[in-house]
């Protein structure tokens, strides 16, 4: 008799827990892959394809599924690699390719024939223009991915380095620049 009670009690508990878990998985169901979203959030979103995938989201999906390595994002550099490795819980790996300094695409307008091929290639819609009209790059939206350079039939797109402006300047770490060039300007008055 005692054994029957124990079996029934444990069986009942297991059943109740099972039903509860089944309900919880329905009620608290998460759409999409949260890991993919979190990896996507640390990527630089240049959509350049240098990782071998057609954009940042496909690469994030591949990393999340374990298909791709954590060190394939070139523009993200070491910082993105460390962040992804941390999210995935895997040891960090050396980033093989050095990231180029930030670039912008520039269309030499007098040579442009208005073929719209670069417009179709731009992953962030940063080129404007119409058939047989000059095209131009919206500087503020260009990610410098270079995907527009190759399709251009007349080679009128240059990659130029992003102009340095005062607003983007920041102090370098002490010791990185020579003291006499860029040192701390705190004079001792004592």
């Amino acid at each position: 008799m005692n054994i029957l009670i124990a079996v029934l009690l444990l069986g009942g508990l297991a059943l109740a827990a099972g039903i509860l878990l089944a309900l919880a998985s329905r009620v608290f169901h998460v759409e999409g892959d949260p890991m993919m979203e979190r990896i996507d959030a640390v990527l630089p979103q240049t959509q350049c394809g240098q990782c071998g995938y057609p954009g940042c989201k496909p690469y994030a999906t591949a990393v999340a599924s374990g298909e791709a390595d954590v060190n394939q994002c070139v523009p993200g550099g070491e910082r993105a690699m460390l962040a992804i490795a941390d999210l995935m819980g895997v040891p960090p790996k050396e980033v093989e390719e050095e990231a180029a300094p930030p670039m912008l695409a520039f269309i030499r307008e007098d040579e442009c024939i208005g073929c719209t091929l670069c417009i179709k290639a731009c992953p962030v819609d940063a080129i404007i223009g119409a058939p047989k009209q000059y095209h131009t790059v919206l500087e503020s939206h260009c990610t410098g991915c270079t995907l527009c350079v190759e399709p251009c039939p007349v080679d009128c797109i240059d990659m130029v380095s992003k102009p340095e402006v005062l607003e983007d300047w920041t102090w370098s770490a002490p010791g990185q620049a020579k003291l006499s060039d860029n040192g701390e300007a705190h004079a001792r008055t004592g």
């Binding site: 630089p44 300047w169 920041t170 006499s180 701390e184 300007a185 004079a187 008055t189």
Partner: protein, 532 residues
């Protein structure tokens, strides 16, 4: 929580190591910490002299915190003194006015006083020497009868920004907010930086204008009380201001408060704590505790703009430093080239000279000398290279003496904070309240290991801002890329829908014509889809 334990032990050992009772320090005279650097105020007795007009005036399009301005004049145009030459873009901005009459000769990039040594768009004016004034702004002698909004608008149009060095547009500080009424207006006459004496001289020579400016500000924000805060190393300024107050009949509403000299008492947060006893909450404005703080120089500029109708086109600057033969306080037009000012003090040969913009504690070394005087220039210190770097030994390891903790007026733990900044752990740095650092330089000043603490904090703040900017750009790119993917998918779906529609239309024809005509019908369907 090792962090908390570290902080507590840090505080405790700091108190013991320095032989200072921390509690006594905090309760006495307001803000915690602070240092007493040598005052070096050699120019305190030098009356303000007017600078002659320079051959060229260089006006940077951004001399304030906020958005840069856009020029409203063209090259070759003649402008009058006080005429607006660049209008503000966006809300947090202040227009730029021509400091003298003359011709606009160029609008181009020119060096500006900035630690990067980089340039910025500037309007360059060649004065014609006539100094003809633009009198479009009428003086408001009856400002007490004017609506506060009218006065605020006048201050905005006159391009007035905080002249203590922070250059925040003054009219924004004077906005009236019904949730946070301003009770006390504090005029900052502390001038705690060594060497600088320009505010001191303004109080001595323009006391009436400063008092009138204060009454304009108090009227505009409807404040009941005013305080003029002066450190006890300027007894003559205390007397002069008190006399000016009594003469103007404002003595009952405004008091002159004498504060014991301690650096950085002139910092806004520190001054408010010294005067009111209230500590500024992190991330809040003085407005939130019912206080408005303005520099005495700003008060004079407000007086000039409102009572005389003269926009901000000149300021007083202290020229000092051990390389300057005759240090002086000079009232110069905004845009006057710095070498022109140094030459007036007897310094012509600039080789081996290090130029500091501002005071020695918070100022920044300028890699370029050929820059103009701007609205934020309260001091220009020309130092011999040997003096400036003689005590800058190599950075040595932190010995955890805790002196930096003891002197930090913001109550931070600079040594711990510097560890995180050095190792690029900016998240940890922010946990240690990196952004509450006011960069006063007290910690660097007392550090026996010559650690450039403030430089580490400036580096970390810059990096945090840079990362934030990159993240915002990534977010934007992501949104644009997703919008493009959606558009492409939609276009493809539309094309597919059209194709199947054409197929459906072609299907009955196929049934009628039987197998022979079916191929051509299908082909016709495809070509019509291609055309559409």
């Amino acid at each position: 929580m090792p962090g908390l334990v570290d902080r507590l032990t840090g505080l405790f050992s700091a108190g013991l190591a320095g032989g200072v009772d921390l509690k006594a320090l905090i309760s006495h005279g307001g803000f915690p910490g602070g240092v007493h650097p040598a005052q070096m105020k050699h120019t305190a007795g030098s009356p303000i002299v007017r600078s002659p007009l320079p051959p060229r005036l260089i006006l940077p399009l951004k001399q304030h915190i906020g958005e840069a301005c856009t020029p409203t004049v063209e090259v070759g145009e003649r402008v009058l003194r006080g005429q607006k030459v660049a209008r503000s873009q966006g809300y947090v901005s202040a227009p730029v006015h021509a400091p003298s009459s003359g011709t606009v000769v160029a609008i181009e990039e020119h060096g500006v006083p900035h630690p990067s040594g980089m340039g910025r768009q500037c309007i360059i004016i060649e004065p014609d020497g006539l100094d003809e004034a633009d009198e479009s702004l009428p003086p408001m002698s009856d400002f007490l009868d004017q609506e506060p909004a009218v006065i605020r608008e006048r201050i905005r149009l006159s391009g007035i920004v905080g002249l203590g060095g922070a250059v925040f547009p003054t009219f924004i500080k004077m906005l009236r907010d019904h949730h946070h009424p301003v009770e006390t207006v504090i005029l900052n006459g502390v001038e705690c930086e060594p060497y600088l004496t320009c505010d001191h001289r303004v109080m001595l020579e323009h006391a009436d204008a400063v008092v009138l400016g204060l009454s304009v500000i108090m009227h505009a924000v409807d404040a009941a009380r005013g305080v003029i805060a002066i450190e006890d190393n300027k007894p003559d300024a205390v007397q002069t201001m008190q006399k000016a107050l009594d003469d103007s009949g404002m003595g009952d509403r405004v008091e002159v408060r004498v504060l014991p000299t301690r650096y950085p008492q002139g910092g806004e947060k520190q001054l408010i704590q010294s005067v009111t006893g209230k500590q500024m909450p992190a991330g809040k404005l003085p407005l939130h505790i019912g206080v408005l703080c303005q520099n005495v120089g700003t008060a004079k500029a407000v007086h000039d703009a409102v009572c005389l109708g003269v926009p901000l086109t000149e300021r007083v600057v202290t020229i000092g430093g051990d390389a300057v033969p005759q240090p002086a306080n000079i009232c110069a037009r905004i845009g006057t080239p710095v070498p022109f000012l140094l030459a007036q003090c007897g310094l012509e040969d600039l080789s081996g000279i290090r130029l500091i913009h501002g005071g020695p504690m918070m100022g920044e070394r300028l890699p370029r000398m050929n820059v103009p005087l701007v609205k934020s220039t309260n001091g220009l210190l020309a130092m011999r290279q040997e003096t400036l770097y003689s005590e800058h030994a190599e950075e040595e390891p932190c010995i955890r003496c805790g002196h930096c903790v003891e002197v930090c007026p913001a109550g931070l733990v600079p040594n711990e904070l510097a560890w995180h900044c050095r190792n690029d752990q900016f998240d940890r740095g922010q946990e240690y309240d990196l952004f509450d650092c006011i960069e006063c330089g007290c910690c660097s000043y007392v550090c026996p290991s010559h650690i450039p603490l403030v430089h580490y904090f400036r580096y970390a703040k810059g990096q945090v801002a840079h990362i934030e900017k990159e993240r915002a750009f990534a977010e934007l790119s992501k949104a644009r890329s997703e919008a493009r993917d959606n558009r492409l998918a939609r276009e493809q779906a539309e094309r597919a829908a059209r194709r199947s529609k054409v197929r459906r239309q072609a299907a009955p024809a196929k049934a009628e014509k039987k197998d022979g005509g079916a191929d051509s019908a299908a082909r016709g369907g495809e070509t019509s889809e291609d055309k559409s």
